[in-house]
């Protein structure tokens, strides 16, 4: 099949979304299809620029050329899904968040500004029209689906994909430490873990891997809490060391604020490790079952300290949870094969049409 993958890019930036698109393209090629890549330029700033990108995508219409040599077009990001094509699939990475959940917060556009409000109105209208017209919309994660339902009242199905190193993550018996593999940022909330560690009854140890804008502050905090003999900040480390630390950990902490998806949860599950997360962490909650494959704690130091104590006091149970987590990962069939097959599967309506000769 000739598959198109449509996305937008900001010249000079190659981040998670670009990496994600590349992985999808590789997976589609591996499944034996031909891939045609469509990338349209996109600027976040000034806000009017997103409106212009929307117009640009609206003008790209493959349907008048019978699909333009593309059998199925997979669209990933706003506004690539407004591109015209007779056989379009959307696997939504995220919407234009500045106009939705981040609107009127410090991260998004301010309410009441005529220019951005006008752009926002157009974006919402375009999303409603383009996504609402499809029989099925796939999203990257349940959080994205929730938002789509909340802001646009459009139903969608989360379609999970594996983390990049899924094939080589291994597991070893637990050494007594909690692994904290994430960039050191406010939203990743490592400070919450530090405050909890200061309150645990046992001297629980933790290893933090990753650099970030909050590294200095978090280290100061650890010092202030007199935790320096129990915690270690490694900064940015090679991927291989990262995997080794996953493999040897007793548990993995990942308690961000409202994460979309988060590979860390999945990587921990693949390493047969229980995951400690929080009730407001978003993505991890789709995978972690409290008391079964890990622990879901209130985002309060005292609650988290209790949870840590309970988990670390019973290593046998912790190992069992880690095993359950791995089984859960397998049961969810998180694989690129599944992603590609699901995206390229004939849509219900089309399937019947093709079935009747």
């Amino acid at each position: 099949m000739r598959v198109g993958v449509a996305t937008v890019y900001t010249p000079g930036i190659f981040g998670g979304a670009e990496f994600h698109a590349e992985n999808l393209i590789d997976a589609i090629r591996d499944a034996g299809h031909m891939v045609h890549r469509i990338a349209l330029p996109f600027q976040y700033d000034p806000p009017e620029a997103s409106g212009r990108a929307l117009e640009l995508c609206e003008k790209v219409d493959f349907s008048r050329y019978g699909g333009g040599q593309i059998d199925t077009l997979i669209c990933l990001k706003f506004p690539s899904y407004v591109i015209g094509h007779p056989n379009k699939r959307v696997w939504l990475l995220h919407q234009h968040r500045a106009a939705y959940d981040l609107y009127d917060t410090i991260f998004g556009w301010k309410r009441g500004r005529a220019t951005t409000d006008a752009v926002r109105k157009r974006i919402i209208a375009a999303d409603n029209k383009a996504l609402g017209a499809l029989p099925t919309v796939f999203t990257n994660a349940g959080r994205v689906s929730e938002r789509l339902k909340r802001y646009n009242d459009i139903d969608s199905t989360p379609l999970y994909h594996p983390p990049p190193d899924a094939g080589i993550i291994s597991s070893k018996p637990a050494l007594p430490y909690i692994f904290v593999p994430s960039r050191l940022e406010v939203l990743k909330r490592q400070d919450l873990l530090l405050k909890a560690l200061a309150r645990t009854k046992q001297p629980i140890q933790a290893i933090f891997a990753g650099a970030g804008s909050m590294q200095r502050q978090f280290e100061e905090l650890a010092k202030g809490l007199e935790l320096m003999d129990r915690v270690k900040f490694l900064g940015a480390i090679p991927r291989a060391e990262m995997l080794e630390l996953y493999a040897n950990a007793a548990a993995v902490f990942f308690g961000p604020v409202d994460e979309d998806y988060g590979y860390i949860t999945l990587e921990a599950m693949l390493a047969h490790k229980p995951v400690i997360t929080c009730t407001d962490s978003g993505g991890p909650l789709e995978f972690v079952i409290d008391g079964e494959t890990g622990v879901i704690s209130e985002p309060q130091p005292a609650d988290l300290a209790d949870a840590l104590d309970r988990l670390m006091a019973d290593p046998a149970r912790a190992a069992e949870m880690g095993e359950n987590g791995y089984q859960r990962y397998r049961a969810l069939d998180i694989s690129w094969n599944n992603v590609v097959e699901t995206l390229l599967a004939p849509q219900p309506a089309l399937a019947t049409a093709a079935g009747a000769p």
């Binding site: 597991s171 018996p173 007594p176 270690k232």
Partner: protein, 506 residues
């Protein structure tokens, strides 16, 4: 994917779950993890070097292999001693194979196979007979393999086969052998049952694997059907037109070529005096080539003339189904766009090559002179008379005659439209107009309008652009304010004028 790496730390043995060093400090843990990392083979250490990106396909359909019937456990050769029971439970062929390997230390030969296997299958020989015969053959004796319980059984069976003794002994031998034979039979039946069950199980799983692959196959075929029909759709659409156009072009070229060859043949100096008819059309195909080069492709022209269509669809005689006559219809581009808009058309052209081509496109086309043709038409019979790049070919008197003939042939409310090069564009007027050797002289818009209105037409309108095609809008006109304006005018304009209807209205 390896997710259950075997514990390789020695401490694991004593405390598998409480974690090796419950008392290990963070520093020690890190030292250990890093030491372990260094001892890993490089491929495992570096995910990129390992070339591993994601788990391999896990959904391939695996057909369970049927068990190899030869894989039945047979007594292996080379042991010092065997029991008679080692050989029970095998089927005939396997028993024979095992007997040869054990007793003679070699594979069964053809003679042995034919003789013993047939005897075994017919019941004439028993396993004891065969084992015994092999064991106490010269070859078997030389090897001297020990098989417990074989000797007495073999002797008894041999005795029975000795005529007299056998007859006397027979009942006893039967009795002695019975329990042993029964046991062997039971064992063989049990073994056969087991094999039967295994086979059934394998058949069932093979069947379900086949069903799964069939389902996948069906899905693939459904997809393929869809792909195919999509492709067919493509061919039906654009490709068909393209193929037709390409075919047309090839035909045209072939015709032009054969005509050119004929002309070259005829155009010898001594045959300079050509017949008038041949002379009249000798340059027809040259003109086709000329049109292709300078007037634009069929598609381009169709695009250019499409803007005039609404001016005709609104005419009462057109709505009543009367014909619009296009003089000098050429390849029929204008006829095509009118036909698409449900307007009845007829074409007229002097050039027989053009006529032929337009006819091939399915148009009603007549070869002939425009003025003569119009004069022959019954009065008030046409809805419209049009001509693209015609009027600039005519002399003044011919032009007037054309307007008069058109007026007479038109129904009241009908219209004329004549497109011609626009000398308001100085490049056109001074240069490009003269490309066509058959052009007479450029016609300034106002002159053409004046002539039409002077011959009875009304509401003459100069159409310079799209805007002018909308009859409810005022005419754009041309009011140059600087020299450059004389270069920016559209290269063509058209005159549109109406014959007043019965009420004298336009």
């Amino acid at each position: 994917m390896d997710n259950s790496t075997t514990p390789n730390r020695s401490e694991q043995a004593d405390a598998p779950n409480t974690g090796a060093g419950a008392g290990l400090k963070v520093e020690e843990i890190l030292a250990r993890v890093r030491a372990e990392l260094d001892s890993e083979p490089p491929a495992r250490r570096d995910p990129v070097a390992a070339g591993v990106k994601r788990s391999p396909r896990a959904d391939a359909i695996v057909m369970p292999a049927l068990p190899d019937p030869d894989a039945e456990p047979a007594p292996e050769a080379g042991r010092k001693s065997y029991k008679l029971d080692d050989f029970t439970g095998l089927d005939e062929r396997n028993f024979m194979r095992a007997a040869y390997r054990v007793v003679l230390g070699r594979e069964m030969d053809k003679t042995g196979e034919a003789h013993y296997l047939a005897g075994l299958r017919s019941g004439r020989l028993s396993m004891v007979n065969i084992l015994g015969a092999l064991r106490w053959s010269a070859e078997g004796r030389a090897r001297g393999v020990q098989i417990d319980g074989l000797l007495p059984a073999y002797v008894l069976q041999r005795l029975r086969s000795i005529r007299v003794v056998g007859r006397v002994l027979a009942p006893f031998v039967e009795l002695l052998m019975l329990s042993q034979t029964m046991r062997q039979m039971n064992q063989r039946i049990a073994a056969a049952n087991l094999r039967h069950r295994d086979l059934v199980e394998h058949l069932v799983s093979t069947h379900s694997a086949m069903r799964r692959s069939l389902m996948k196959f069906d899905a693939d075929i459904a997809q393929l059907d869809k792909d195919t029909s999509a492709t067919r759709g493509l061919v039906d659409g654009g490709a068909k037109l393209e193929i037709a156009a390409a075919r047309q072009e090839m035909l045209e070229q072939a015709r032009a070529l054969s005509r050119a060859i004929a002309e070259v043949g005829e155009a010898k100096p001594e045959t300079a005096a050509l017949s008038p008819a041949a002379d009249a059309h000798a340059l027809d195909s040259l003109y086709v080539a000329f049109e292709n080069k300078f007037r634009g492709s069929t598609d381009e022209i169709a695009k250019r003339v499409r803007r005039y269509v609404p001016m005709f669809t609104g005419l009462a005689p057109v709505a009543a189904g009367e014909v619009v006559l296009d003089i000098g219809c050429g390849r029929g581009e204008w006829l095509s766009v009118l036909t698409e808009a449900n307007v009845r058309t007829r074409g007229l052209d002097l050039n027989v090559a053009m006529v032929e081509e337009a006819r091939q496109r399915g148009h009603d086309v007549v070869a002939g002179d425009a003025i003569a043709y119009l004069q022959q038409q019954p009065g008030e019979s046409l809805a419209g008379v049009t001509g693209f790049h015609i009027v600039e070919h005519l002399s003044f008197s011919q032009l007037v005659a054309l307007l008069d003939a058109a007026y007479a042939a038109l129904k009241p409310g009908g219209a004329i439209l004549f497109e011609t090069p626009n000398p308001e564009n100085l490049v056109v007027g001074a240069c490009t107009f003269n490309y066509d050797p058959t052009h007479n002289k450029p016609l300034p818009p106002d002159l053409l309008r004046f002539l039409a209105e002077a011959r009875g037409f009304e509401a003459g309108r100069i159409v310079r652009n799209e805007n002018d095609c909308q009859l409810d809008r005022p005419e754009t006109g041309f009011a140059p304010t600087e020299v450059n304006d004389w270069f920016r005018q559209p290269a063509d304009y058209a005159l549109f004028a109406r014959k007043p209807d019965a009420a004298g209205q336009v």
